[in-house]
């Protein structure tokens, strides 16, 4: 048992830190610090900087142009990036579709699509959830009917994150209506410029536009855009969901957010003293920090297992539940720390709103973030679904 990084890992950490200090554009970091919405250009700029260094596709094998980092290296990057207020890497092409194509795609698909993910030619989004099929994904209804060299797709996807920026969407579609729920689903790549595809914005409760509905009406998709075999999409989706879930502990984000809470609580006045000296507030901050320290180690233990080749299953669910609870608690502390200044609403999305809340604590829209991050326990398989998985695996001998 040794909790310290190896000399190589320490050197890597220093390298990442230096890179972020040198290359992360200050205007982007400032937006991330204040939780201002990033533009498409901001995200593309950061991706290009990472790609230039060969650090964009961190989990891809070198053969596909990836960095092929170890799990520990990825953890080091995540922690350093959050600390430096670097934007998160948009995961749809890089963390989700990429690994699926590498494992299940044809040689032609790999050669065509993977380089386009790296150089930013394609912006991917994910077409999984449907209005009637949220966490119960297998009940999805969007259907694709084979017609010669094409599929004809009809249906509706929802909660499509950053779909407004995307030109491509990977979808789960029903190709065999008679099969049992999880069978009869296929994995299809759809060009969003195809006639019949329509993107409609969903405005979230903090007035942000990050998710969308995507509607398909008689959309003609080349059969060559089918990944793997027809009716085997559920297998690929499950593989992808595992990749999606491993990052959801969000340790780096929580550490950065906790730092912000402490900064605000030191500056905020409470009965003539800094808020952080209030025993009640200080106790709550300490409590969540203690939880976070333990979870950081839980996270590293799971990462080490993954590095040893064991697939994270149950552990990913545990991390997702605990990670979301911790991060939401920190968001709650942040809004409380700000006091009355948590009430103003500032967003470029609303006409007439100030760009910045006139808040002497310079805290950013912490209340909006508190509400927005309620999503952490809902999306990617809600915490109820995760608890169900944990119970099923531990108490009935198999998922």
């Amino acid at each position: 048992m040794d909790l310290s990084y190896s000399p190589d890992e320490q050197a890597f950490q220093a390298e990442v830190r230096q890179f972020l200090a040198d290359e992360l554009p200050q205007d982007i970091a400032e937006k991330v610090r204040l939780d201002t919405d990033l533009t498409k250009d901001d995200m593309e700029r950061w991706h290009a900087i990472l790609n230039n260094r060969g650090w964009l596709a961190q989990n891809w094998p070198k053969a596909f142009g990836g960095a092929e980092w170890s799990a520990v290296q990825r953890h080091i990057y995540d922690t350093e990036a959050a600390d430096a207020n670097a934007p998160r890497i948009v995961p749809f092409g890089l963390s989700m579709l990429g690994p699926v194509l590498q494992k299940f795609g044809s040689k032609e698909q790999q050669d065509y699509w993977l380089p386009r993910i790296l150089d930013g030619t394609d912006w991917w989004c994910q077409g999984y959830s449907e209005p009637g099929a949220g966490s119960d994904l297998a009940s999805l209804k969007t259907k694709a009917v084979r017609d010669g060299d094409h599929y004809i797709v009809n249906g509706q996807k929802t909660w499509t994150t950053l779909g407004q920026f995307a030109n491509m969407i990977f979808c789960l579609v029903r190709t065999d209506p008679d099969a049992k729920q999880q069978e009869g689903i296929s994995f299809l790549l759809i060009d969003m410029d195809t006639p019949g595809v329509e993107v409609r914005p969903i405005i979230l409760l903090d007035c942000t536009h990050e998710v969308n509905e995507v509607w398909f009406t008689d959309v003609k998709v080349p059969a060559s855009n089918l990944v793997g075999e027809e009716n085997k999409g559920w297998t690929y989706a499950k593989y992808l969901l595992t990749h999606e879930r491993t990052g959801l502990g969000g340790v780096g984000f929580s550490q950065a957010a906790l730092k912000t809470v402490k900064r605000i609580a030191k500056a905020a006045n409470h009965n003539g003293k800094p808020l952080i000296e209030s025993p009640h507030f200080a106790a709550r901050v300490a409590q969540v920090e203690i939880d976070l320290r333990a979870m950081a180690t839980t996270n590293l233990r799971i990462i080490s297992q993954a590095a040893a080749g064991e697939a994270p299953g149950l552990e990913a669910s545990m991390l997702k539940v605990k990670g979301s609870i911790i991060r939401q608690e920190i968001n709650d502390l942040a809004r409380r720390a700000v006091g009355p200044y948590a009430m103003p609403f500032a967003s470029e999305a609303v006409e007439g709103a100030n760009d910045r809340i006139p808040d002497p604590l310079d805290a950013g829209p912490v209340a909006g973030q508190y509400f927005n991050n309620r999503k952490l326990s809902i999306f990617g398989g809600s915490n109820e679904i995760q608890r169900g998985i944990i119970a099923k695996v531990t108490m009935s001998g198999g998922a």
Partner: protein, 356 residues
């Protein structure tokens, strides 16, 4: 002991509930939320006509209510419908301060819906402390900055606290007064507020001190607790309906025990919240008023967070969208914790008052 409303209060509740159910739906409110002033003049006039504003004042003051339970009845209904009109700040807090100052004519205008007020007390670093005032008054001219002043842009007059020597006094400031600057912005849960700067701004002394402000603040605490309770009632009702209609894995999700038990917990806590509001309204005139009010505000803050978060979680994604009623209601509930002292503030005050 009698936990029933008086006939008059029951009528007030029925009338207001029916009016808001018919007139104040999500679509109408969303229009109001985007309006320049942050509230609807028509709704305001109709609230006055229904006697809702008059119910916040005693007969001596020209109203026909004014007790803790009158205030609680009104604000529970406003909360239930997620009303964003500044009844609390403009009519109750502002109006009762003017009443205390003997401004009978102006109070009459408030009750009639013709006069709008804003109360400028908090400052950028005062947080929830009532006695932290840096704005100064010299020969009745005021200089300083006031933070997150509700309804400041729409107000005809501002009631401003300032330090005259060592004591805190309240002044009436005309909206067109010299040296008065108002920078407005919308609020996350609806309505508008502003940063108010005064620079040698003339103010009329109201003859009121900090203890008068504290008396009005007690009424505001009752109102805020009751409003949050009303909003929580809507949040739990929406959640209960959703659990019985939304199907996943082939059956209504409310039939899953994990969710059914959590819903039951919400209903238990909702009754606690109701009792806390009754305590606030019933004891606010007594000798331990502040102890009771802190107990109620702390409990409402804690349960409010639970109800808002659980209601959203049990709904799932739909509750995260702006167009669904619960989104607004949940914001009202949580943001209530940021007014007149939050959960922690009142916990500490309760401890201090209990020890005294």
């Amino acid at each position: 002991m009698d936990f029933n409303l008086t006939e008059e209060r029951q009528m007030l509740q029925d009338t207001l509930r029916r009016y808001l159910r018919e007139q104040y739906d999500t679509a109408r409110r969303n229009k109001i939320l985007e309006s320049e002033t942050g509230f609807s003049p028509e709704i305001w006039t109709e609230l006055a006509e229904l006697g809702v504003l008059g119910a916040l004042f005693t007969e001596d003051q020209g109203g026909f209510g004014g007790a803790g339970f009158d205030i609680a009845v009104v604000f529970e209904e406003l909360g239930r419908a997620g009303v964003v009109e500044p009844v609390l700040d403009s009519a109750l807090l502002g109006g009762r301060l003017l009443a205390a100052a003997g401004k009978t004519d102006m109070v009459e205008q408030v009750i009639g819906g013709a006069l709008h007020l804003a109360v400028a007390h908090g400052e950028p670093d005062s947080r929830y402390d009532l006695d932290h005032v840096s704005t100064t008054a010299t020969d009745n001219t005021l200089t300083g900055r006031k933070a997150v002043v509700m309804n400041a842009e729409a107000a005809d007059h501002l009631i401003v606290s300032a330090k005259d020597g060592d004591s805190i006094a309240l002044y009436l400031v005309d909206k067109g007064a010299a040296g008065l600057d108002i920078q407005g912005y919308p609020l996350l849960a609806g309505g508008r507020a502003a940063e108010v700067t005064l620079e040698g701004t003339p103010g009329e002394p109201l003859g009121l001190t900090l203890s008068d402000y504290e008396a009005a603040n007690r009424l505001a605490l009752i109102a805020q607790c009751a409003e949050a309770l009303g909003a929580m009632e809507t949040a739990t009702a929406l959640t209960k309906d959703y659990l019985m209609t939304r199907k996943q894995f082939g059956r209504p999700i409310g039939t899953f025990q994990a969710l059914a038990h959590r819903m039951s917990d919400l209903l238990i806590e909702l009754e606690q919240a109701r009792s806390a509001v009754i305590n606030a309204a019933g004891y606010a005139g007594g000798k331990d008023a502040d102890l009771h009010l802190s107990a109620s505000k702390n409990l409402i803050g804690r349960i409010g967070r639970l109800v808002a978060e659980e209601a959203i979680q049990m709904h799932g994604g739909i509750a995260m969208t702006q167009e669904y009623e619960l989104a607004h209601i949940a914001k009202r509930v949580v943001m209530a914790d940021h007014r007149f002292g939050d959960t922690d503030y009142h916990l500490e005050r309760f401890i201090a008052l209990s020890a005294a």
